[in-house]
């Protein structure tokens, strides 16, 4: 009985290919839209989280000037120098690395090629603080730092632009008029969340940059890496106290420097992307709803024809239960096909789109199940309810249905 009803339902689906196709299409669109959007949203969130961790974990960035107009707002505040960095290193606990850093735009030349990039003068602590890893070669030694040797570690972008297929380590490169030995190559970090290319850099000993490029003994920023498990907020407070003291800021006077905490940035950014994911989810929910309405329409439009069909079946001796079971199975089969095709389509679309957007892809079980169940429920409901109404009619009334 059940089996023959299933066969009957499948035969009906085949017989009404257009109607079946449209019903399935509604579910496919609903399911695949929701899954794709939520997967992309999650991917974007993950990408932001990855970028933040590439900045360096538990990193504090100490800069002169008040934090007003975003990065680089140096204003007229006094710059820091190496002694400030040393004071932090010696007087504040729970610190893993302190890297006084100064940057300057330079043109670098190798062979016949030149490239405009940023020269970063820092100490070897910077590699720890900024979470750099080496692809090849080595970082500079303490002696090279102290003596301001002309050695440098280059980023992936600089290597690509100047060296092409050639290995850079051991070669001599010209940086703003002086020759500099390339001793190491940084592993790629990719784009930062702001969109700038973190790999477009040349790292030299701080003293080398100060002497040969900027000509000043000051530094732009001091990067402080807080030990794992220590509170970055507490360390930032201690640094603030120390700097106020060193810069002779007393009483109610405002700081003429600021400390950026990457943890705070991370929190802000992940909050933003969570909102974004919610928004995408809402848009997707609307498309699921629209898909649901499509299913509903197809089901309701076919109800006139089907009411007569139900009338015929009842008149020739089908029980109400048998007719309903057939319609229920039809609806379930269509909804399931639609749901599965939707999931398949969403998986393909998600994989391709995450690749295009260069965000990580992760299969989200929850949203797949949710959207499948939702559209299947709509399909079954609107396939079944009108059928039930028709099956309860007197067969004669059903036969005369116009």
């Amino acid at each position: 009985m059940l089996w023959s009803t299933i066969l009957l339902a499948i035969r009906e689906i085949r017989r009404n290919l257009m109607r079946s196709f449209l019903t399935v299409l509604g579910i496919v669109i609903g399911v695949s839209a929701v899954i794709t959007m939520v997967t992309l949203g999650n991917g974007a969130t993950q990408a932001v989280a990855d970028q933040i961790s590439s900045l360096g974990s538990n990193l504090l960035i100490l800069r002169p000037g008040q934090r007003v107009g975003g990065p680089g707002g140096g204003g007229g505040a006094r710059r820091f120098d190496v002694r400030d960095a040393e004071a932090i290193r010696s007087q504040i606990g729970s610190i893993k690395a302190v890297a006084p850093t100064t940057t300057s735009a330079v043109t670098v030349i190798y062979g016949a090629k030149n490239w405009s990039t940023t020269a970063t003068g820092t100490t070897s602590d910077d590699f720890v603080a900024a979470n750099w890893h080496l692809a090849s070669g080595r970082v500079f030694t303490e002696a090279e730092e102290k003596n301001g040797k002309a050695v440098c570690v280059i980023g992936e972008t600089v290597r690509r632009e100047l060296y092409g297929a050639q290995a850079p380590v051991g070669t001599g490169m010209r940086v703003k008029g002086f020759s500099c030995e390339v001793i190491g190559l940084l592993a790629s970090k990719g784009q930062a969340s702001g969109g700038q290319d973190q790999d477009d850099t040349v790292i030299l000993p701080l003293r080398t940059v100060q002497r040969r490029i900027t000509g000043r003994p000051t530094v732009n920023t001091i990067l402080i890496s807080v030990k794992d498990g220590a509170s970055s907020t507490a360390v930032a407070d201690q640094i603030t106290g120390l700097m106020r003291e060193r810069r002779k800021i007393t009483g109610a006077k405002e700081d003429d420097f600021n400390i950026l905490d990457t943890k705070e940035i991370a929190a802000t950014l992940s909050g933003t992307t969570k909102t974004l994911t919610l928004l995408l989810g809402a848009v997707a929910a609307v498309s699921l709803l629209v898909g649901g309405i499509g299913i509903m329409n197809i089901m309701l439009v076919s109800v006139t024809e089907r009411t007569r069909e139900i009338g015929v079946r009842l008149a020739i001796g089908a029980l109400e239960g048998e007719v309903l079971l057939q319609f229920l199975i039809e609806a379930i089969v269509l909804a399931s096909i639609g749901g599965l095709v939707g999931i398949a389509l969403a998986t393909i679309a998600s994989v391709v789109l995450t690749k295009v957007m260069s965000v990580p892809y992760a299969f989200n079980v929850g949203i797949n199940v949710l959207s499948f169940v939702f559209s299947a429920a709509i399909g079954v409901l609107f396939g079944y309810v009108p059928a039930r109404r028709a099956a309860r009619l007197n067969p004669i009334t059903a036969l005369r249905h116009e």
Binding site: R11, V312, A315, G317, N394, L399
Partner: protein, 262 residues
């Protein structure tokens, strides 16, 4: 309803299977019996009396034409006789069983096993082959696929549609569609065939062909026929004509059936 091109030739000849379905000894008791049957639609002041106490008995093997103007109650009576509707009062006995006391499910099973229906509008399933349409009642009886197929082919053959098994209603003429509907009604070998204006949608020639077919079913298979019609031409095929007026049987007369065309 669709109509196929007129040039389409309908296969002649009515090769009927020999096995009679008549119940032995059924003549002693009426097959169908209405006793003081009433049917009232609506309630209170809006109530309309469709049947006002109908007495009628039909013996197995009869061919009865039911006539009467619209609103005379003939359709209501037919629906009750076909177990599609329930009376408001009185009794309806089918082989001595009180149908008015049966549940909806029991009435459905009664239809499934003893009754066949032919409608004015054919009511075939669209986009469904003639054979599958004819198989449908057997499906609900739980008949196996192979038996269904054989029975459907025999039934289609008996209404003169051999070779048309795979055609869908849209590919058949009106007369052919009604033949498929008749095949569907008789494939279960019913005791009674209820036909509601079976020729209402057909031209004169096709109407007479269908009437010849119905007459043959009655004569050769012993199927009791109850046929609603408002055309005297068609009623003339029956051996008994019952006329309704204002919810009552106005006349109930024997009829000498006209000679068959072929």
């Amino acid at each position: 309803m669709s109509a196929a091109p007129a040039s389409e030739a309908e296969p002649p000849g009515l090769a009927l299977p020999p096995a009679p379905i008549r119940e032995p000894g059924a003549a002693s008791r009426p097959l169908l019996e209405l006793v003081g049957l009433t049917k009232i639609y609506g309630e209170g002041t809006a109530a309309v009396k469709a049947l006002g106490g109908v007495d009628l008995s039909v013996q197995a093997g009869e061919f009865v034409a039911v006539m009467g103007p619209s609103g005379s109650g003939k359709s209501t009576a037919m629906n009750i006789l076909g177990c599609l509707d329930t009376p408001s009062g009185g009794a309806y006995l089918f082989r001595g069983v009180h149908v008015e006391k049966l549940t909806g499910k029991q009435r459905t099973l009664l239809r499934r096993h003893f009754l066949g229906f032919v409608f004015q509008g054919f009511n075939l399933l669209a986009r469904t082959s003639a054979e599958e349409n004819v198989e449908l009642p057997l499906l609900y009886r739980g008949v196996s696929t192979a038996e269904r197929r054989t029975a459907a082919r025999i039934a289609l053959d008996s209404v003169g549609l051999k070779g048309w098994e795979g055609h869908t209603p849209a590919q058949l003429s009106g007369g052919q569609q009604q033949r498929v509907a008749i095949a569907r009604a008789i494939v279960t070998k019913p005791s009674v065939l209820l036909a509601d204006e079976p020729t209402g949608n057909l031209d004169t020639q096709r109407s007479h062909e269908i009437m010849d077919l119905i007459t043959a079913l009655n004569r050769d298979l012993g199927i009791t026929i109850l046929m609603v019609t408002h055309e005297a031409d068609m009623a003339a095929y029956a051996r008994r004509i019952v006329s309704f007026r204002d919810g009552l049987v106005e006349s109930d007369v024997e009829n000498q059936p006209r000679e068959e065309a072929g």
